[in-house]
Symmetry: C2
Subunit: 445 residues, 2 copies
């Protein structure tokens, strides 16, 4: 309640700061680098990332007053870099944001691979496909342990390609009689490029509404990822474009109340408006917990006569995570001696663990946040449980549940609040009548 951001409690890492050789960022999604700006000042160790990630981080730091920029050691995709006693190799993988990487971490006791977030996509919208050849070579070299993405470990088959999404998007733009709004995750530059290309092919201009989306477009443009794409116009251009000549990119696919999409749905956006017969495409999925906010927006749009298309009806979204056939392929390439499941709810990690066992991995270990594991020498073993927890950010303050007052706020919202002011004199007698102020308390007639 009233909290802007939930961050991990890195108290243990702060204690072990002198043993921390560096922070290696695989890609620029919020759940992989979002806490860096707030927490790096507590660690001040070297940070490694590729250009796209570093530029997005810099743009984010610049947009929020009071944040200290974080110095980044730039890595090129595919590069090997020495970090303390380790050698870390960035291996290109396809995912729903440019420049995503798996990490091959060479240690004196063996080669450890961390998959990062990945999928196998023969035709990503931006960047190369997952580097199958390099992963096979690592398998030949011998992999001690694989830490691997579990998000879609319950889903059979193979994830949808971005090329399929591009086709569905182009078809919708061809069919639409009026304006079309697309909402997607701001960081999905490949999706934005697919939409922009389809718009240009249909003779439509592309308008961008939303700061986060503009930020990603600027960074991708700076790195040459959008070559051949049409220009991305600002909101000001919208009013001058005919209905059948415009595609508008709207931030806020998760129902965020202050984002462009939500304001357009409520007819409160200063420059972007939609009318009956226009269309809004949700080129995204609902992150669990956001369903109610998203449904409210969909309902508002539909009751105003605007057509809404979701991925239930058309192939307008593709997950960036591997399904079961892709996981099997990764195990076939790497043939690790140890498999440790990461990135997913416990349900997904458990299904992933069963798949890894079925794929012939000799040692499969389920861990939790804070589990310390010895991979070598000897058999893999859990050796400690470290303290973990959460920090909360409210405005510029970062603190634990007590410091931010989270539990008290929950109680206030459950029960309301009553203040009774009593003024007593020295003898303990009331001087005036008690005064009662009630906030959030039910009132009976």
């Amino acid at each position: 309640p009233g909290v802007d951001l939930v961050l991990p409690d890195i108290g243990y890492l702060e204690q072990e700061r002198t043993n921390l050789a560096g922070i290696v960022i695989t890609h620029a999604h919020e759940d992989h680098f979002g806490a860096l700006l707030d927490l790096w000042p507590r660690l001040r160790v070297p940070v490694y990332a590729t250009a796209f990630t570093a530029l997005l981080l810099a743009a984010k730091a610049a947009s929020e007053p009071g944040l200290e920029p974080v110095p980044i050691t730039l890595v090129r995709p595919g590069q090997r870099i020495a970090i303390g006693p380790f050698e870390v190799e960035y291996i290109e993988v396809a995912h729903s944001i440019p420049q995503s990487h798996a990490l091959a971490i060479r240690t004196p006791l063996g080669l450890v691979v961390h998959s990062g977030d990945w999928k196998i996509d023969p035709s990503p919208a931006i960047g190369p496909p997952t580097d199958a050849k390099r992963l096979q070579e690592l398998g030949e070299e011998g992999v001690l342990a694989l830490f691997c993405d579990s998000t879609n470990a319950l889903r059979e088959g193979h994830s949808r390609s971005e090329a399929d999404v591009a086709r569905a998007v182009a078809q919708l733009i061809d069919e639409a009689p009026g304006r079309i709004g697309f909402t997607t995750f701001a960081s999905n530059a490949g999706r934005v490029l697919s939409i922009a290309r389809a718009a240009a092919a249909a003779g439509r201009d592309v308008v961008v509404a939303g700061r986060a989306m503009r930020r990603v477009i600027d960074v991708a443009t700076e790195l040459g990822m959008f070559e051949g794409a049409p220009p991305f116009l600002d909101e000001e251009a919208y009013a001058h474009l005919p209905r059948e000549k415009v595609v508008v990119l709207l931030s806020g696919s998760q129902g965020e109340p202050r984002a462009a999409l939500s304001r357009v749905a409520r007819e409160e956006h200063p420059r972007i408006a939609l009318s009956p017969g226009d269309m809004v495409v949700f080129s995204a999925r609902a992150i669990p917990g956001n369903e109610i906010a998203i449904n409210a927006i969909v309902n508002q749009l539909i009751m105003r006569g605007i057509t809404v298309i979701t991925d239930e009806e058309r192939s307008v979204h593709a997950s960036g995570h591997p399904r079961r056939d892709e996981l099997r392929q990764m195990y076939a390439w790497l043939r690790p001696r140890i498999a440790i499941q990461v990135h997913g709810e416990a349900l997904h990690m458990a299904a992933h663990a069963r798949l890894a066992r079925a794929a012939g991995v000799p040692s499969v270990m389920m861990i939790e946040d804070g589990t310390m594991v010895r991979l070598a020498p000897g058999d893999v073993e859990k050796i400690d449980d470290l303290p973990v927890g959460r920090l909360y950010k409210d405005g510029r303050l970062v603190g634990d549940v007590d410091a931010i007052g989270v539990i008290q706020r929950r109680r206030l919202s459950f029960s309301g609040h009553i203040v009774v002011s009593v003024v007593l004199d020295e003898r303990g007698d009331a001087i005036i009548d008690p005064e009662i102020v009630m906030t959030g308390i039910p009132v009976e007639d």
Copy 2:
């Protein structure tokens, strides 16, 4: 926040009470009869329902102190009954609770059908399949308007049969090495029967944990719906049953924190415990908004070594609502002149409206809560927007958003609360230092 129940604001119906001939209940799901006990005293008009629905309502009234029982005029499945100027016929349909009905409402100006909640299931677990013959006859007679369930109007094909679920349930019970817990909607007596039969066939006893589930079982038993089922044991029996000889029914499939499932997951249930190797089956789907609470329970179970099965992996749940092929079948049977979509988010109603048009219905009308429509004579037309809204129940109080203090509570949870006590004398000078009490306010070091 802190609200127990959200109810519709029936202020308009209260004004029009003398024009209200009665309340006709199609089936005993909470979103169809849940507000009756709280709001009926404001209307005091005749209420019609079948025995299963009436008995569940009575059991609910008896379980909550201070609620007045509602007198019910009992209707038999298939019966026709005169209500004011109307004749209402109860038509049996398959759904996820026993004794669900569509309504054929004969009026001086034509025949109106309300589908209620329904699906086409050739083998429901309890009760007859949807009465196709009667619906076809109504189509022959000529239907002025159909009000029809939109829940699954985005899903192609035909909904899964309860017989498929029964098979999947039996297979899981056969495979399970230890205890098996099933959680499902308490009102789904057919599902409970399928689970109990499969348990008996596998030589396992059935234990019931959860008051709502016990209440439904008692009513279904009283009405002879559970003939041939094994006895349903109380929680006390659990401790004496061997692991491989027990199936336990757990209430709380939506993650309700005080329900049996949630307490078992937290190891806080006084009588029911599960151990590593046991299994919990979610024979239900997540109602949007409950995902996070459900995920937390799944994670707790899995991290304790308990196997969790959801309908993502096995066919352990079937929706009670019609998919697109079933909707098409309904329109083919009834051939209404007017189609009005109900029961679903706007997204589903819009898809349903397109389907109805494609099925050849001449007049298709999208409405909102509070839209007043004239069906006849003349063309169908929206003629008024009536006031609608929500009431909130907190403890025994029912009131609107201001009376219950909902907005103030939200503000408290967002910002916290500061009280400053200042005592001034007659001249306006402070007598003592101001006293400050902060609740839910972030504290900086």
